[in-house]
C-alpha cells in the first residue's frame, strides 16, 4: 500500500518544480507563428529562456516588458505596450501571448485591459492576443502550462460547425513524443487537431535561412474550430477542471471529453486506442498490433531484471502518473512518487491502482528534492526516473537516474526522447532495464563478494 508523507518543513530545499509563467511559455511555442511576452522584470524572461533553451537546444525568443522600479509604482502599462510594439514590428507574429509574473500580479496589472486598449489604439482589433495571469507564487509550471492552454482555447475557440476531427491535447511531453502521437493518429486514420504542437518548433531541423519564428505549431485556424470537433482526447488526468481546456470545450461547446493518461505503458496506450475506436469506430491496424505485441514480448523478457527495480519517480504530475503506471505494469515497484506541484488529483489517481501492489509507496506532493532524497533512501529506491535534477539522487545516494521529462540539461536529446505509444514505451523500458543492469553488473562483484564470499574467504587457510 501507499502512504502520503507530508512535507512539514517551511524551507524548500532543492525544488522539484518551477514557476507558473515558465509553464506558460511552452504552449505558445506550440502555436504557429506565435510570440510570447512576460509582463514583469526582464530577469524572468531571461531565466526561463535560458532553461528552456538548454533543454531543447533551440533559440527561445520570449519578450519581456522589462519593468523597473518606476513601473512598480506607476504601473507597467506603457512598458507592456512598447514591448508589444517591438515584438509586432520585429517578429510579425500571428498571435501573441502575454503572461504575467510575480511583479505584475503583485502590483495588480490588468493585462486583459491593457492589451485590449493596445489593440484598439493600434487599430489591431481582432488580432489574437492571449493573456494569462501566471503569478510565480500562484502555482507550479505544470499548472502554468495547462492554465495557458485553457486561456488560449477560451480566447480563440469559437462556436463552430460539427466536424469529424478529434482534438488531441497534450501535456508537456517531448517533441518526439508528440510526433509519435501524430504518427499513431495517422496510422489509425484519425483526423485530428493536436494542441499544442511544439514537435517541430522546439525540435527544429537544421535549415537555411534562419527563421525567427520556426515553422510548425498548431494552426490558429484549427484552434478556432476545436469547438466543433467530434471529441477531445486530453492527456490530462491530473489537471484540475478549472485549468482543463478539454473540460472547457466540453462545458462550453459540448465537445465530448475523453480525459486520458499519457499513452505510456500498455494499459494507458490501450486506453488511447480504445478511445479512438469509440470516437471514430476505427480498429487498430495490424502494424500497431505488432508494436503492442513486441512491447508485451519485451515486458515478459525483461521482467526478470525489472522486478529488482524500486523506483523513485518525480516531476510534473501528469508524467509522473503515466510513469508510475508503466513501472507498476512492469514490476518496477514505485516506492517514492513525487511532484513539486500541490496537485491533489495525483495522489487519488495513484491510489486507484497502487493499492494492488503489496508494497508501500510514498506519495509526495509539494515536495522538494531533499524530501525526495530522504524518502528514496528510506525506501531503498534503486532507480530514479525524472528530470536532470535527479542527478543528486545519483551523486548522493548512488541511485542511477533515467532521464525523462523537463528539464534535461546534463545529457543530450531530451527533446528527442521517445516514451509514448507501444514502441516508445518499449524504448523507455529498455532504458530502465539497462540502467538496472548496468548498475547491477557494476556493483555485482563487490556485492556477491560481500554476501557469499567474505565468510568463505575468511575461513579458508591460504595455501
Amino acid at each position: 500500500m501507499k502512504k502520503e508523507t507530508p512535507n512539514f518543513r517551511n524551507v524548500t530545499e532543492n525544488p522539484c518544480h518551477m514557476c507558473m509563467p515558465m509553464g506558460g511559455i511552452i504552449p505558445f511555442k506550440g502555436i504557429e507563428q506565435s510570440m510570447v511576452i512576460l509582463h514583469g522584470s526582464q530577469g524572468c524572461a531571461t531565466y526561463m529562456r535560458r532553461h528552456i533553451a538548454e533543454h531543447f537546444n533551440e533559440p527561445i525568443d520570449v519578450g519581456s516588458s522589462s519593468l523597473n522600479e518606476k513601473g512598480t509604482v506607476y504601473g507597467g502599462e506603457q512598458n507592456l505596450k512598447t514591448g508589444l510594439d517591438n515584438i509586432m514590428k520585429v517578429y510579425r507574429p500571428k498571435l501573441v501571448g502575454v503572461l504575467t509574473t510575480c511583479l505584475a500580479e503583485t502590483i495588480g496589472e490588468d493585462i486583459e485591459r491593457i492589451t485590449s486598449d493596445y489593440l484598439r489604439d493600434r487599430g489591431l482589433e481582432g488580432f489574437p492576443v492571449v493573456t494569462v495571469p501566471t503569478p510565480g507564487y500562484g502555482d507550479s509550471h505544470f499548472e502554468g502550462y495547462w492554465f495557458t492552454l485553457t486561456r488560449i482555447v477560451t480566447k480563440l475557440t469559437q462556436r463552430a460547425k460539427r466536424h469529424s476531427r478529434v482534438n488531441v491535447i497534450v501535456p508537456n511531453i517531448s517533441p518526439a513524443d508528440i510526433r509519435e502521437i501524430k504518427r499513431l493518429l495517422e496510422l489509425m486514420g484519425v483526423e485530428y487537431i493536436l494542441f499544442p504542437d511544439f514537435s517541430e518548433t522546439l525540435d527544429r531541423p537544421f535549415e537555411k535561412p534562419y527563421q525567427k519564428i520556426p515553422a510548425g505549431g498548431t494552426r490558429t485556424a484549427d484552434i478556432k474550430v476545436m469547438a466543433g470537433s467530434a471529441a477531445t482526447i486530453q492527456f490530462g488526468m491530473t489537471v484540475e477542471d478549472s485549468m482543463s481546456p478539454g473540460r472547457f470545450l466540453q462545458t462550453e461547446y459540448d465537445v465530448p471529453l475523453y480525459n486520458l493518461p499519457i499513452p505510456m505503458g500498455v494499459e494507458n496506450t490501450d486506453l488511447f486506442f480504445a478511445c479512438l475506436k469509440e470516437i471514430t469506430g476505427k480498429e487498430m491496424p495490424a502494424s500497431l498490433r505488432l508494436e503492442r505485441g513486441r512491447l508485451l514480448d519485451a515486458m515478459v523478457d525483461s521482467h526478470k531484471y525489472n522486478f529488482h527495480g524500486r523506483s523513485v519517480i518525480f516531476g510534473e504530475p501528469e508524467l509522473v502518473f503515466a510513469v508510475t503506471k508503466t513501472c507498476s505494469e512492469n514490476g518496477i515497484f514505485p516506492v517514492v512518487v513525487a511532484t513539486g506541484s500541490r496537485n491533489s488529483k495525483l495522489p487519488r489517481l495513484l491510489k486507484g491502482f497502487l493499492h494492488e501492489l503489496e508494497i508501500e509507496t510514498r506519495i509526495l506532493t509539494s515536495s522538494d528534492f531533499t524530501q525526495i532524497r530522504k524518502n528514496s533512501r528510506e525506501m531503498g529506491a534503486n532507480i530514479a526516473i525524472g528530470s536532470s535534477e535527479g542527478r543528486y539522487l545519483t551523486e548522493k545516494e548512488g541511485i542511477p537516474l533515467v532521464r525523462l521529462g523537463f528539464p534535461i540539461h546534463d545529457r543530450v536529446g531530451g527533446q528527442r526522447l521517445l516514451s509514448v505509444g507501444y514502441t516508445g514505451t518499449t524504448m523507455f523500458l529498455d532504458r530502465i532495464t539497462n540502467t538496472l543492469l548496468e548498475n547491477k553488473l557494476t556493483n555485482y562483484r563487490s556485492s556477491m563478494y560481500q554476501k557469499y564470499y567474505k565468510n568463505y574467504h575468511a575461513a579458508v587457510p591460504t595455501h
Binding site: C19, S41, T46, A53, N86, P209
Partner: protein
C-alpha cells in the same frame, strides 16, 4: 566584411522610430579618428526587445553571492528565481575539510499566494531557523525577489533578528528583480553588503605571508580560479580571498589584510575594489587572466607593483616555462584558427577579456559588446565622473566608506602609486573600446534580432555569447561558444585554460557536421559519382 553606417541604418529600420533612436546610441562603429566615441550603456532595456540581460537578483545572488560556498543563500520569494539560479553559473568549489560547501543546494522560501497577501517575514524567519539547524553554515544570505519589496517584507529586520538569535551573520540583500536596469544593479547591492558585513570581520591584523593578495571578480567558472591559483602560487603569491569563485565567508572576512587587490571582472566588482582602497588602503590592479599575452602582462604588472627583484625574476621564469610548454600546442591550433573572425558579446568584462584570447589564436573580434556594462567598461574609467546617473541606478543605495580606524594601512606611498600608474593599470581600467580595431562594431545590450542581422552582414566564423543566443548562430551555420558556462568545458583562464579554449574553438571550426549544411537535394547531384553500380 565590415558594417557601414548604411548597414546600421538598414538594420535599425526594422524598429519603431523611438526604439531606433535609442538603439543607435548603443552601437558604435569604431573609428579612432573620432575618439572619444561615446556609447550609451547601463540604461533601461527596451521592452519587447529580446535582451540577454538579467535582473538585480541574478546579479546579486546568481553572480556575486552564489559562489561563496560556506554560506547558505536563501532566496526569499516564489520558487522560480531560486530554481533558475541553482548552480547554473558553473561556479566550481572544492569542499573544505569541514564539509561546508552548500553550492549544490538551492534554498528558497517558495512564497505562496498567502505569503504575498499576508507577508512572508514569518516564513522567512522559520526558514532561517531550519537552515541553521540543517546546515550549520558559517553565514546566511537572504536575496529578495520581486514581490518581497512590493509587499513590504522587511528582510533586514528579519536578518538582524536571526543573526542575534543564531549567532552567525545573516545578511539581507534587497535585490528585487525590478531594481536597476540589469544584473549590474545586483552586483552593486551584493558588493555593498559584502564590504559592510563581511570584509574586516576576520581576526587577522596583517598579511600572513609575503605577496598576499585578493582576487576580485573571479568566479571560478569551469575551474578558472584554480588555474589562476596554480600560476600565482607557483610564482609565490599568497591568496587571501577570492570574491567570489570558490570563495568563502571565512576567507573573505580577512580580505582587509591583503597588500593588493586584483580586479578580474571590472564591471561586477570595481565597487568593492574602490571601497577596499578607501577603507583599508589596499590598491587594486586591473588584471586579465584570459589569454596568454594578457596573463603574462597581468603577472608582470603584479610583479611591478610589488617591485621585488626576486619576484620579478620568478615571474619571468614561470612565464618562460609555461610558454615553452604551451606554445607548441597552441601553434597547432593557430594553424586552423588564424585569420578567422569572432563576435564576442558577453557579460560585463568577458566581452573584452576574450578578445585577448581570440587574438592569441589569430582570431579577430569584429563585433564585441556587453550585456550589462557601464560606459566606463567601454570607454575607460576616466568617463566615470561624466556618467549621468539615471533614475534606476540612483535607487541602488550607495555605500559610503571611510578609512577604517583599526585596519587602514597605506600599502604604497601616493608618489609610488602615481609612478606605478604610468606603467600599470593601478586603480584603472581603460575599457574595451581602445582595443577594438577601426571599422569593427561595439554594441551594448545586443538582442536576438540584432544578433541575427549582424551575423548576416559580418558572417563571423565564431559567435561567443551565452545559451540564450547560442542557437541562433547555430541555426545559421555559425559555431557558437558559450562564454557564460563554457559549454560545460573549461577552465579557460591562464595558460592551461588557453590551451583548453584553443582546443574547444578549433573543434568547433572543424566540426564535420558543417559539411552537410548544403543539403544534397539542392545543387548538383554530387553523390552519383560515388555510387558503385
Amino acid at each position: 566584411m565590415s558594417v557601414t553606417e548604411k548597414d546600421l541604418e538598414r538594420i535599425l529600420e526594422a524598429y519603431p522610430a523611438k526604439v531606433k533612436r535609442n538603439r543607435k546610441k548603443h552601437i558604435l562603429i569604431k573609428d579612432s579618428s573620432q575618439e572619444p566615441q561615446e556609447i550609451e550603456a547601463n540604461t533601461r532595456t527596451i521592452p519587447g526587445i529580446i535582451t540577454n540581460r538579467g535582473c538585480a537578483y541574478a546579479g546579486c545572488k546568481g553572480v556575486v553571492l552564489g559562489p561563496l560556498k560556506d554560506i547558505v543563500h536563501i532566496t526569499h520569494g516564489p520558487v522560480g528565481c531560486g530554481y533558475y539560479s541553482w548552480l547554473t553559473r558553473r561556479n566550481k568549489a572544492k569542499t573544505p575539510p569541514d564539509g561546508k560547501n552548500y553550492l549544490a543546494y538551492c534554498v528558497t522560501t517558495d512564497m505562496q499566494e498567502k505569503d504575498i497577501v499576508f507577508g512572508g517575514e514569518k516564513k522567512l524567519a522559520q526558514v532561517i531557523d531550519e537552515v541553521v539547524e540543517i546546515f550549520k553554515p558559517n553565514a546566511i544570505t537572504i536575496s529578495a525577489t520581486c514581490p518581497v519589496g512590493l509587499i513590504g517584507d522587511d528582510i533586514q529586520a528579519v536578518a538582524k533578528a536571526a543573526q542575534e538569535k543564531h549567532g552567525i551573520p545573516v545578511m539581507g540583500f534587497n535585490c528585487e528583480g525590478y531594481r536597476g536596469v540589469s544584473q549590474s544593479a545586483g552586483h552593486h547591492i551584493a558588493n555593498n553588503g559584502l564590504l559592510e558585513w563581511v570584509v574586516g570581520k576576520g581576526e587577522m591584523t596583517a598579511a600572513p605571508a609575503k605577496y598576499s593578495i585578493n582576487i576580485l571578480g573571479e568566479y571560478n567558472i569551469g575551474g578558472d580560479s584554480w588555474e589562476i591559483h596554480r600560476i600565482l602560487e607557483e610564482i609565490g603569491y599568497h591568496v587571501i580571498a577570492v570574491a567570489s569563485g570558490d570563495g568563502s565567508y571565512e576567507d573573505l572576512k580577512n580580505a582587509h589584510v591583503a597588500d593588493l587587490n586584483l580586479v578580474q571582472c571590472h564591471r561586477s566588482i570595481n565597487y568593492i575594489a574602490e571601497m577596499l582602497e578607501i577603507k583599508y588602503g589596499t590598491p587594486w590592479l586591473k588584471v586579465n587572466f584570459i589569454g596568454v599575452e594578457a596573463t603574462c602582462q597581468s603577472l608582470r604588472d603584479m610583479a611591478q607593483y610589488f617591485g621585488d627583484e626576486e619576484l620579478i625574476k620568478k615571474t619571468e621564469e614561470v612565464i618562460a616555462k609555461e610558454l615553452a610548454r604551451i606554445e607548441p600546442i597552441l601553434e597547432q591550433y593557430r594553424k586552423i584558427c588564424k585569420g578567422k573572425t569572432a563576435f564576442c558579446f558577453v557579460g560585463g568584462s568577458r566581452g573584452h577579456h576574450y578578445q585577448k584570447l581570440f587574438e592569441d589564436l589569430g582570431i579577430e573580434t569584429v563585433l564585441a559588446g556587453y550585456e550589462f556594462a557601464h560606459r566606463d567598461d567601454y570607454e575607460g574609467r576616466q568617463v566615470i565622473p561624466h556618467i549621468k546617473v539615471d533614475a534606476d541606478s540612483k535607487n541602488i543605495p550607495e555605500l559610503h566608506v571611510e578609512p577604517d580606524p583599526k585596519f587602514f594601512k597605506l600599502r604604497i606611498s601616493p608618489e609610488k602609486a602615481e609612478e606605478l600608474k604610468k606603467k600599470i593599470p593601478l586603480s584603472y581600467y581603460a575599457g574595451m573600446n581602445v582595443d577594438m580595431k577601426d571599422g569593427h562594431v561595439i554594441i551594448d545590450d545586443m538582442n536576438h534580432f540584432e544578433t541575427e542581422e549582424f551575423i548576416r552582414i559580418l558572417k563571423p566564423d565564431i559567435f561567443a555569447s551565452g545559451i540564450k543566443d547560442k542557437y541562433i548562430p547555430h541555426k545559421m551555420g555559425i559555431p557558437s561558444k558559450q562564454l557564460h558556462n563554457y559549454d560545460y568545458s573549461g577552465p579557460y583562464a591562464g595558460f592551461n585554460g588557453a590551451v583548453k579554449f584553443a582546443q574547444d574553438v578549433t573543434a568547433m571550426f572543424t566540426n564535420p557536421a558543417w559539411n552537410f549544411i548544403a543539403p544534397p537535394w539542392k545543387g548538383k547531384p554530387l553523390l552519383e559519382g560515388q555510387l558503385q553500380k
